[in-house]
């Protein structure tokens, strides 16, 4: 794709990019980091690649940026193949912006020189003016002549963003961009950054390991596991309709009970739940902590509280229910009245119960 002449006066004239990843594989010395991954990012969309460390999300990002060459598959940017079996467009010709966890600011250049780095094709004065404007957008123009090491983490992150945006990339790729910031700062910087990206109407792919962060920023989330995308969808899709036990676990702590499905329902000591798509046989019933209701009037199940921990907004309770091996976790507000040892009557909100076929091989977080 050839972008038109640079239109400095019209910040919104950038055309948002359309990124497509087709059956991409990546192998390192026999280890398959990515296994047949396909993905599409619509123009102007903000997509989060979410997953635990080592799941391949950063690899996918680096392949899109062109700093790695894929072992197989194709990557298209605005309909043009930038990586494929016979073709490879090097990163400097792709027109993508990249923001790193460590920001990667050039330590031997001033903040302004950093932002001007990608504007070499322009006359110096014009590049400078554009870079200054970019810095002003992130409210750092007064630091133009400072060296990046003198800036705080949040400021460095904003410089990195301004630098990546300055050459007007069609897609911006961000690798854990907020994880080096402390929590309070993280939320405000995240907010600012996302507002800026939306104003610019730029397509973005953001890598994160934090499901909450993904829900905060993404239009769509692609959940990755062991080199594959296991589910793509909005935050609501992934939270309410996870397609696998893995996806369900990733977004929520669960009480997992082994049970038997029969005729589209499962019977547990906590009640009978619908399991319309589950074949008869062993299955796993997942109950979110907030599904347990401590309501002495409605509740029919007897349980004993074994522990309570005050966590601010909610309290966390542990409950022993006869017939269930493990302790159940529950979350509720205003639980100060409950005491360990106290016998309560429980009800379960069926909207917060999920049923999956017998657990897969990864038993890792069972009963979490």
């Amino acid at each position: 794709m050839v972008r038109g002449p640079f239109q400095a006066a019209l910040p919104r004239a950038r055309c948002a990019g359309f990124l497509v990843v087709e059956n991409v594989r990546q192998t390192y010395d026999g280890f398959e980091a990515l296994h047949d991954v396909s993905l599409a990012v619509a123009p102007g969309e903000i997509l989060c690649l979410l997953g635990a460390s080592g799941c391949g999300k950063t690899t996918l990002l680096r392949l899109a940026a062109g700093v790695e060459v894929p072992s197989g598959g194709r990557i298209l940017l605005d309909g043009v193949e930038v990586a494929g079996p016979t073709n490879f467009v090097p990163p400097e010709k792709r027109g993508v912006g990249l923001v790193f966890q460590d920001y990667a600011l050039f330590p031997h250049m001033t903040v302004l020189e950093n932002v001007m780095f990608g504007l070499r094709h322009l006359p110096h004065a014009q590049a400078r003016e554009l870079a200054m404007r970019g810095l002003a957008r992130v409210a750092l123009d007064h630091y133009a002549d400072s060296y990046p090491q003198l800036l705080s983490g949040g400021e460095q992150q904003r410089v990195a963003l301004a630098r990546a945006l300055a050459p007007r990339p069609s897609v911006i790729l961000m690798d854990e961009p907020f994880s080096n910031l402390d929590q309070r700062l993280r939320e405000s910087i995240r907010e600012e950054t996302m507002n800026l990206l939306r104003e610019e109407g730029i397509s973005a792919v953001v890598v994160t390991h934090d499901p909450e962060e993904a829900m905060h920023i993404a239009d769509r989330i692609a959940l990755m596991h062991k080199g594959e995308i296991v589910q793509t969808g909005t935050a609501e899709d992934l939270y309410f309709c996870p397609e696998s036990l893995f996806a369900a676990r990733f977004f929520c702590d669960l009480n997992e009970l082994d049970a038997q499905a029969q005729g589209g329902e499962v019977i547990t000591p906590l009640g009978t739940f619908a399991a319309p798509h589950i074949a008869d046989g062993p299955c796993v019933v997942c109950i979110r902590p907030q599904a347990l209701l401590f309501d002495t009037d409605r509740g029919g199940i007897e349980g004993t509280i074994t522990a309570r921990r005050f966590l601010g907004r909610v309290d966390r309770l542990r409950v022993n229910v006869p017939g269930i091996e493990q302790e159940l976790h529950a979350r509720l507000r205003d639980a100060r009245a409950f005491r360990p040892g106290q016998v309560v009557r429980l009800a379960v909100d069926a909207r917060d119960v999920l049923v999956f076929p017998q657990r897969d091989h990864d038993k890792g977080k069972a009963g979490a």
Partner: protein
Amino acid sequence: MTSLRNISARFANGTAGLPAVSLLVAALVAAPVISLALLAAKGSGDLWPHLAAYVLPQAISDTLLLLMGTGVLVIVIGTGAAWLVTAYDFPGRKIFQWALLLPLAMPTYIIAYAYLDLLHPIGPVQTALRAALGLSSPRDLILPDIRSMGGCILLFGFVLYPYVYFSTRAMFVMQMANLVEVGRTLGAGSMGIFLRVALPLARPAIAVGTSLALMDALNDIGASEFLGVRTMTVSIYSTWVNRSNLPGAAQIALIMLALVIALILIERFARRRQSYAGSAQRARRLVPERLRGVKALGAWLACALPIFIGFVAPALYLFVEALARLRFAGLSSSLLTQIGNTVLISALATFVSLALGLVLAFTARMMRNAVTDVILRVASLGYALPGTVLAIGLLGPLALMDDAIASVSELLTGRTTGLVMSASGVALIYAYVARFLTISTGNVESGLSRLSLSLDHAARTLGESAGGVSRRIHLPLISPALASAALLVFVDCMKELPATLLLRPLNFETLATHLYGEAARGTYEDGSIAALAIVLFGLLPMILLARTSRAPKKAGLDMPQREGIAHG
């Protein structure tokens, strides 16, 4: 396949020639080893029975004895001194911390040269002793002769221990604090801590330091010859130069190469668990224990003695002698020529080493894979080759090149050329570069490794080509590493003796070969001035070493550089 190559070429655009040059460099470094094997395979004819019966047994046993004795001594002195200045506080500790490195500025052949004179029956030490004891004739006072295996081991130990001191101290300083404190709370006394915690943990560092020291000992030609120890290096030299039997020398050299490989394998084995020690968490400095009274004096003496023997006494002697010589005869013109020769040839070799080191390190950074790994490893082989072994190995490749140049010249001009490579000093530069390339590659690589790869990737996505990234990002950021590499290589070239002796053009003298010549002839004219000059240059890297070992390591940039940038 073509498409794949196409793709990687496009990925690394602007740097496509790098791997080819790297491969060539590796081939040039490997050439002497291959050539040596070929030469040795020719056989030395009638000389071999003689070599096998009379030369080799003594050469091997002397070499092994020397290595073992030196090894024990450098470990004891190096580790002991490192532990003293790390774990204890006593008057002078701060000075000892860097001063203990000083003997490294003193090449083995210079310390031998100095002590031969110092301890000569009519030299200053014995004369003073006799005066103190009221004896009149040198015959009345019989001291053990420094010209012996024991003397050689002693001198080597006191001049080579800084290798062990440097590597173990770094280990003690950076990784011991928590472990030592835990050990104390578990009831171990300071000796117990040293023996049960510090020493086992420092084993990898001791192995590295000791192997460096022994490589140096193995490489030595001057000291062992002056002191009458017939090591393999000395045997190679005499077989080649005195008996003119090159294949015989090559056979000894090949056996010596086996010894070097054994040494490297032993080192690998001794530090096989290095990852354990390397993975200690955040570094915290050990709070030293304050010593008083007799203990403080003991520690002071234990640190002062190696510095005195290994540096202060010989340096002071050289200084006094050089001054006397300068007063008496001034600076001779031949010495000036030699200084010029030394600086010129070292500077050229340094320049080539840096350029090739950059190529190798950039290749490794941009396309790290199994092939470039092998290339890099082969290219760094030279450091393990003792100078004499390298020199013999180079003869074959050099002759081939001379032949090639001659036939090309004959083809073009109708005239043949002589031994261009050997006569012009190119041979010497080749040897220096092959031997010291590791230093420049290693420095550039470690400089580059401190630059996060994300810098490269950021620059690439901002529109810079791979070559442009090297120019605009890497080079400015690694210039301090380049400078220190230049200094280290330059000084090593200046000090180099064995390969220089064997490969220099006719009538071409450097400071080192001049000193060797005088010592071998038993004349003492400008020798002390040449020696002092080498020692003074040798002090420069010491300063660098002392500075880097003291300054706290910062992520990204070194402090001095960062300040330089901020003010510039």
